[in-house]
């Protein structure tokens, strides 16, 4: 019945074979990279696409510069360092996937991730499961080094509580005790508001009102009218990114900053650059700033970064990436091993040297919660800079991390080490 067809090799078969061979050529580098073991690989996962792209790229510039410096000094334990980057696309599932890819396939020794706190926490579960040392450069939510801390996870940037603790006393002393909050209506905003309210209550101030704004709000006028009617001394603007920029633009249009003192907690160079000059007002906290006259090594760092970023100054994000990567080298030099548990024990309590910390106060990873005690730079936004067009912030005080952070016994962190 069924006549077997004689096997023939047609033109299409040849074409297909050629295409398959071509694909194999493209795939070959992946196969080879999976086997290479001479270089020491560090994986960086960040949302390089989406709303956090600008800050992620600055972290990458800092990280790349750190790798360049490390390799010039002989790498880590004599091995050349290679930085592998992966885009988490601001999606937790993708971030987790990329963490598994870096650890399982590329065999990275260290991981640094992520600007988005939710992804940072999810990746922390993976690195914890796989016992890989993990430094979070720029995800701020408290639990990462608080209630959800892990033995292998460390963090460079401040917690939201540290941010609130740095700005609140300054505002209270200088501008008054009646505060009004504009809070983005999601988990991050609520934590930030709660931290600031706690500080205010401790100092004896009052909250005269708050407006919860949905994420992605473009028109803040209704909230601003309410805020003005409440006659506060200080208006705290807590939205971040695009929402903050919109809110600040409208504050300037309404002239609210002429009668009420405008302030916020965290502010970033990237956001100030994106704002029109009239909106750059108020008291804020920077996590690092590039202009620190008299502080050793800062000027050289700024000059070196300018050469690698198309002339732009380093931001706090650049410093996060730089510090996270250097921490890996500092701790391996100290512990002389790649064993994650020993490294994590050595990194707890490690103090950063002046050429890495790039700020006046003592900077160290607390042994109890693995949070870097780094300074807060509190000051005013500058509308029209006189010298450098990117000099958009005037520092009033630099508060050491020990002052802004609660002691590591009170952050809710209980580290459980593997047996």
């Amino acid at each position: 019945m069924n006549q077997p067809k004689p096997p023939t090799i047609g033109r299409r078969t040849v074409l297909k074979a050629a295409a398959a061979a071509g694909v194999a050529q493209v795939a070959a580098p992946f196969v080879i990279s999976a086997r290479a073991a001479e270089t020491l690989k560090i994986g960086m996962i960040n949302p390089f696409t989406g709303v956090y792209a600008a800050v992620s790229n600055n972290e990458l510039i800092g990280a790349k510069f750190a790798v360049e410096q490390m390799n010039a000094k002989g790498g880590i334990l004599g091995r050349k360092v290679e930085l592998l980057t992966e885009d988490s696309a601001n999606d937790v599932g993708t971030g987790v996937q990329k963490a598994r890819k870096l650890i399982d396939r590329d065999k990275v020794t260290f991981i640094t991730a992520d600007v988005n706190s939710a992804i940072a926490q999810a990746v922390a579960q993976v690195t914890n499961e796989k016992k890989v040392l993990h430094i979070v450069p720029g995800g701020h939510t408290d639990p990462i080094t608080g209630t959800d801390c892990h033995w292998n996870v460390f963090r460079v940037c401040n917690t939201t509580a540290m941010e609130a603790n740095s700005v609140a006393p300054v505002l209270f002393k200088k501008y008054g005790k009646k505060w009004y909050f504009i809070t983005p209506d999601y988990a991050f905003g609520h934590t930030l508001e709660a931290a600031a309210k706690k500080d205010l209550a401790k100092m004896g101030g009052t909250v005269v009102g708050n407006a919860l704004t949905p994420l992605g709000t473009t028109d803040f006028s209704a909230y601003l009218i309410q805020a003005r009617a409440a006659k506060p001394d200080v208006l705290l603007v807590l939205p971040q990114g695009g929402d903050m920029i919109n809110c600040m633009k409208q504050i300037a249009q309404f002239g609210i900053n002429k009668t009420i003192h405008v302030a916020g907690l965290q502010q970033e160079e990237e956001s100030l650059i994106a704002m029109p000059p009239a909106s750059r007002v108020g008291t804020w906290m920077f996590e690092w700033y590039w202009k620190q006259p008299g502080v050793p090594h800062v000027a050289e760092f700024v000059a070196d970064i300018r050469k690698r970023s198309g002339g732009h100054v380093p931001t706090a994000r650049t410093w996060f990436g730089y510090t996270a990567l250097w921490s890996f080298k500092l701790v391996t030099d100290k512990a002389k091993t790649l064993d994650a548990v020993k490294l994590a024990k050595a990194l707890g309590g490690l103090e950063l040297p002046p050429q890495i910390k790039l700020q006046p106060n003592k900077v160290y990873y607390a042994a109890g919660d693995h949070q870097l005690r780094t300074s807060s730079f509190v000051g005013e936004a500058v509308a029209n800079p006189k010298g450098d067009p990117e000099d958009l912030f005037h520092i009033d005080t630099v508060i050491p991390g020990d002052k802004t952070s609660p002691p590591d016994t009170e952050t809710g962190c209980k580290l459980t080490w593997p047996a």
């Binding site: 795939a27 992946f30 209506d185």
Partner: protein
């Protein structure tokens, strides 16, 4: 039809059956051996697990879209509900992986059944709009209800529990190959149920509705009831996939409920071939693998996925699988 073709019909049918059996064997062979061949092509086991889970989700979307002709743009809602149901069960109720999957599937499926009764009253673009709206309702609930769902930070603090088979326990938390096979078995079970439904008279009725709704109605088929049943089944499959997704990540986040995620499932289904049973799995594989590779090379990876989607829609309207099958047959 000529007489010659009529005579050749049984031969063609036999050949057709042999071909579909060979294809099934090839699909299951490739899937069953994935942990062994993937590392040589630069893959890794977790990638295979993700393809299976998202492929199952896309097949669930296609169950509705490809076989009944109804486009839902909010199916991520049931996917995400499955994930949250599974995660919340593991976190607060009991440390059991199978029960958590049941819990997640029930949560997503039952919610789908209830809201489906309202949604199926609409057709075409209105149906798609209403599904988006309900999907976004769940997205915002997950986003705002921080005390239960963790809000924007996502639901954390649960891990898949080892499987207790009575005589032995299987570690599916640290052993990624074991977890892959666990997901593969779940996937096979769901695919078998789906295939069984499609072969039943009920499945034929679905096709009849897809081909000509008015004619089906004149034949006395209760259209609304049928679409509601299909919608509900699809939601159960979707929630099942969502539960597995929570276990893959040990995490559930609101973005899993977002309409952009629904869009991704539709893209996978269309990319692979939306009238084919296995099309969405191929689409999911292409989507996930492309995302995984290209995003390591360039941050503009979404551009390339979009480009591929445009090319497929313009030149291969039957999807990749439809295109390949046509090639083989001609």
């Amino acid at each position: 039809m000529t007489a010659a073709v009529d005579k050749a019909a049984p031969v063609a049918a036999n050949r057709e059956r042999a071909r579909s059996l060979a294809m099934l064997a090839a699909i299951w062979g490739v899937l069953a051996l994935a942990p062994f061949w993937m590392p040589y092509l630069g893959g890794y086991t977790a990638l295979g697990t993700r393809v299976l889970v998202l492929g199952l989700g896309a097949m669930a979307v296609n169950f509705l879209l490809g076989f009944t002709g109804v486009l839902s743009f909010g199916h991520a809602a049931w996917f995400g509900l499955g994930a949250y149901g599974c995660g919340l069960f593991l976190k607060f109720i009991a440390h059991s992986t199978p029960l958590s999957i049941v819990a997640g599937t029930l949560l997503g499926g039952v919610m789908g059944a209830i809201l489906g009764a309202l949604i199926v009253r609409r057709r075409g673009v209105y149906f798609a709009m209403v599904t988006i709206a309900f999907g976004q309702v769940f997205y915002y609930i997950a986003f705002q209800w921080s005390s239960l769902t963790g809000g924007d930070d996502g639901l954390r603090g649960f891990q898949r529990a080892p499987l207790d088979l009575g005589f032995t326990t299987v570690d599916i938390l640290y052993n990624s190959t074991a977890f892959y096979y666990f997901v593969l078995i779940c996937f096979a079970a769901a695919a078998a149920v789906m295939g069984f439904i499609l072969r039943s008279p009920f499945g034929r009725t679905m096709l009849a509705i897809r081909e000509n709704e008015r004619r089906a109605r004149f034949l006395g088929i209760p259209i609304e009831l049928h679409i509601w049943i299909v919608f509900t089944l699809s939601c159960f499959f979707m929630a099942f996939a969502g539960s597995l997704y929570a276990l893959v990540n040990n995490f559930a986040d609101p973005l899993g409920l977002h309409y952009s995620q629904s869009g991704n499932f539709v893209i996978m289904a269309v990319l692979g071939g939306m009238r084919k049973f296995w099309g969405p799995l191929l689409g999911a594989a292409v989507f996930v693998v492309l995302q995984d590779y290209v995003s390591s090379l360039t941050v503009n990876w979404q551009f390339f996925i979009g480009l591929l989607f445009v090319v497929v829609v313009l030149f291969f309207p039957r999807g990749l699988l439809g295109f390949f099958q046509q090639r083989v047959q001609s």
